[in-house]
Symmetry: C2
Subunit: 141 residues, 2 copies
DNA sequence: GTATATGCAAAGGGTTTGCACGGTT
DNA sequence: AACCGTGCAAACCCTTTGCATATAC
């Protein structure tokens, strides 16, 4: 993404360029992924005065113009990340809490069939799949 | 499920049989599915004095002994249902909010492969898949 | 009789909102 | 100058917890 593409995306959406907006976007990129609280902490390394509600509002705006996305991994706060990260599915073990990432391509045949049968286009990275990891499966058998 | 199997399940888990417990279980069965608030409302049709926290505590107990399960459908409260209902996957359209149910069998090949490759046993009904329904796909193209 | 379950009220995490002020355009 | 964005505080939804009382065993 070029240095000013993010600015253009915001302007095209009718939004203004503000230091907070830029800091939130940069923090997400630097962290790789993070909850709103974690992103705030990263932002505050540069600008202490920034408020949590500003982070929330800006994550929403940045998501609307396609600069970030979020995924629900555990039961708590969602995780935000830059759009240019590669797409993966999260697997959460309900036994031990382990979170694994797998390539989203593994789900393609299933999602293609789903689309053929129902017309539903799935964003498989948006929510984690829950279940039992191999270690916990062994332990409980 | 026989008339007293639920009692035995609770006792085997070291739990007591209380009117509240019974009412919560029956309400879930009668509703088919519902949030804790909705279940409370159903319970209160019979017993006004029952408290929300009691519903939460009992849903947890009933889930532990395998009498109910819950699924996360929207962004709000989870939905509880009896274990004897047939397993289905929920599809939530992020465009219009439509919720569809599909048979969980459709995901079997994918989940089998996932299990073979990673050892992860997925409870596919636990969280809804998000995406775009056919109507919204057409509308945005 | 004793441990568990309940009701109530308070606190908790995560998120949104109303409002006045300040900054971008 | 007009409007959008911000900080702050309060409110919000959903859920959990501490405590005294009541109840199943």
């Amino acid at each position: 993404m070029s240095t000013t593409e993010w600015e253009q995306r915001l302007r095209r959406g009718g939004y203004r360029i503000t230091p907070q907006r830029q800091l939130v976007l940069e923090s997400v990129g630097r962290l790789g992924h993070g909850t709103p609280e974690e992103i705030l902490a990263e932002v505050q390394r540069t600008a202490t005065g920034v408020n949590l509600s500003t982070v929330y509002r800006n994550l929403e705006v940045l998501e609307e113009v396609g600069l970030v996305t979020h995924a629900h991994i555990g039961h708590g706060a969602p995780t935000y990340h830059s759009v240019d990260d590669h797409v993966h599915i999260h697997l959460v073990c309900d036994g031990c809490g382990l979170v694994q990432s797998i390539d989203a391509g593994l789900a393609e045949p299933f999602l293609d069939e789903l689309r053929r049968e129902t017309g539903f286009v799935t964003d498989v990275s948006h929510v984690a799949l829950h279940g039992t990891c191999s270690a916990c499966s062994v332990a409980s058998s």
